[in-house]
């Protein structure tokens, strides 16, 4: 029989998970230059809610963990093409060569427009994962891997002494795809249209320029090469092009599975503290193991000789 047994009720385990989860914050930004346009994102999220279930098969299931976006900005920049009048060539009778007229352009350079609408309140996703509890021995004398994948995810500083650490180790994780509502398409189109037309004076001048560029909406679609559904295009951007889903999934996995233990037991374990100049009394902890059933988590270990 094991020398030491410690059991934590499901409710206490859930509290541990809840406190750990509160410390998870993810933020990232990126901008990709595609020549005629730039696309990027600026996002920040945290985790809320979720149901924790300890299961009889020695696994822990986390369901419906909400991703709450504090900031979900899409950055779209367009390089408005040349808008010019004149130009064109005309055949002339011999001996005069064909004459090409110069074009004169409306702007001194290629103007840019950029928008960065925030869709944080319009998007919600959930994460679910199932994992086992894993007891690992942390040897404080060993160097950390380089680069350290936990440098930005670790909540508490690394211990200076050896420890047994208990992690929740999900093997797979599911995240809902980004699914932007229909209104997002209109918001983007309106924002871009307003940004483009703000460059142009009103009245017949605008009529001419809009005629030259063929209408703002069509211009935008042509530059961005997007089909009819802007929200579908946007969803693809986030789900595939930006690679955000992969990134978030990896971060959540690393956060729980590698970087932040649920529980720690120092080795050797201090039984009596230092007192009056006398050293603390510590006992080595050996063979620590952990399991769960549908009611509790149980840790067992031996006292070393």
């Amino acid at each position: 029989m094991a020398h030491l047994t410690v059991a934590v009720s499901e409710a206490t385990f859930i509290r541990s998970f809840d406190l750990l989860k509160r410390n998870f914050v993810f933020q990232d930004s990126d901008l990709q230059d595609h020549g005629a346009f730039t696309l990027g994102y600026d996002v920040k999220m945290h985790l809320e809610g979720g149901q924790v279930d300890l299961r009889a098969d020695n696994t822990v299931q986390i369901k419906e963990l909400d991703i709450r976006w504090d900031r979900l900005k899409v950055i779209i920049g367009l390089d408005i093409p040349e808008i010019c009048v004149g130009g064109g060539c005309i055949n002339m009778p011999w001996p005069i060569p064909d004459i090409c007229l110069p074009k004169v352009c409306v702007f001194s350079g290629d103007p840019d427009v950029s928008i960065s609408p925030d869709f944080a309140s319009l998007v919600a996703q959930e994460i679910s994962f199932t994992g086992s509890l894993d007891a690992r021995y942390f040897d404080a004398s060993l160097p950390l891997p380089s680069p350290d994948p936990c440098s930005l995810l670790r909540i508490d500083p690394l211990p200076t002494n050896n420890q047994w650490q208990i992690f929740l180790d999900p093997q797979t994780l599911d995240i809902d795809l980004f699914d932007f509502p229909d209104i997002v398409g209109n918001l983007i189109e309106n924002a871009l249209t307003n940004a483009v037309t703000a460059l142009i004076p009103g009245g017949w001048v605008r009529d001419l320029i809009l005629a030259i560029i063929g209408g703002v909406a069509d211009l935008i679609r042509a530059i961005l090469d997007i089909p009819d559904d802007i929200q579908e295009w946007l969803s693809d951007l986030f789900n595939v092009s930006f690679g955000l889903l992969d990134f978030i999934a990896t971060l959540v996995l690393d956060f729980f599975a590698s970087c932040n233990p649920f529980y720690r037991v120092d080795d050797p374990f201090e039984i009596l503290p230092a007192s009056g100049g006398l050293i603390p009394v510590r006992a080595p902890i050996r063979n620590l193991s952990v399991r769960v059933d549908d009611l509790e988590m149980v840790v067992q270990a031996d006292v070393g000789a």
Binding site: L101, P102, F107
Partner: protein
């Protein structure tokens, strides 16, 4: 995304007469070099010479057209320039055409071309006349009706400029009008805003194009469509002790 600072080329949208003797934005003068030789080019602005260059016409394989932006002469690219150290130099073929235009700004320019060895023989003095064989182009932007006038002969032509249709707009359309000495042919032309009219001068000419009737922009209400409220019946009795004057 860093925002570039761009300026609107307001000269494109300002309405004014377009004259061959004072080249401005939206006008282009084309000189036809029918004879080989060595020429000197003078560009004036406000009467003062702002630019001089040599033009060598006749070299085999040289370009047949060169357009020069008078507003950016200080930034002229070296490759269009000189074979020797002092002054810029252009090389063109026989029967080539050199175009002079203004891309931006409010300046008005004139161009003079003379033979290097016989400076008194001016091939071109745009401030005076367009010589026979040269061409003058105007790009018309403001929709409306324009009148083209040859100032020596009084010949006139009418040019209608229509609003552009975004669905069918094509860039770079050019309409040719010939001045034969007494009249323009054709006398009427219809173009779309942003397109150009090219006047080919078979005789010396001084051409001016001006807007005579601006087209409706659609923002002002048409006459007879005002919203009016008329009171029906006698005026209402005043509520206080004052008597009405009516």
């Amino acid at each position: 995304m860093p925002q570039k600072s761009v300026l609107l080329n307001r000269a494109i949208f300002s309405v004014r007469p377009y004259e061959s003797r004072a080249l401005t934005v939206l006008t282009t003068l084309f000189h036809h070099f029918s004879e080989a030789g060595s020429y000197e080019l003078f560009v004036r602005r406000g009467g003062a010479v702002i630019y001089r260059a040599a033009v060598l016409v006749g070299e085999a394989g040289a370009q047949q057209q060169l357009n020069l932006d008078l507003a950016t002469l200080a930034q002229e690219r070296p490759r269009d320039c000189c074979d020797h150290d002092h002054g810029p130099r252009y090389t063109l073929g026989v029967n080539s055409v050199m175009g002079f235009y203004v891309s931006q700004g409010t300046g008005a320019y004139s161009v003079e071309i003379a033979r290097t060895e016989h400076k008194e023989r001016r091939a071109l003095d745009s401030a005076a006349l367009i010589p026979a064989g040269d061409l003058f182009a105007v790009t018309l932007v403001r929709p409306g009706v324009y009148r083209a006038v040859e100032e020596q002969s009084g010949a006139e032509a009418q040019i209608r400029v229509a609003h552009p249709d975004p669905k069918s707009y094509r860039k770079g359309e050019v309409t040719l009008i010939t001045f034969g000495g007494k009249e323009f042919k054709p006398k009427r032309a219809e173009i779309v805003s942003g397109h150009s009219v090219l006047f080919r001068c078979e005789a010396p000419a001084r051409i001016r194009v001006e807007l005579v009737d601006a087209a409706e922009t659609g923002t002002r209400p048409k006459p007879g469509t005002r919203f009016t409220v008329r009171r029906s019946g006698p005026p209402a009795a005043p509520k206080s002790g004052k008597k009405s004057s009516g």
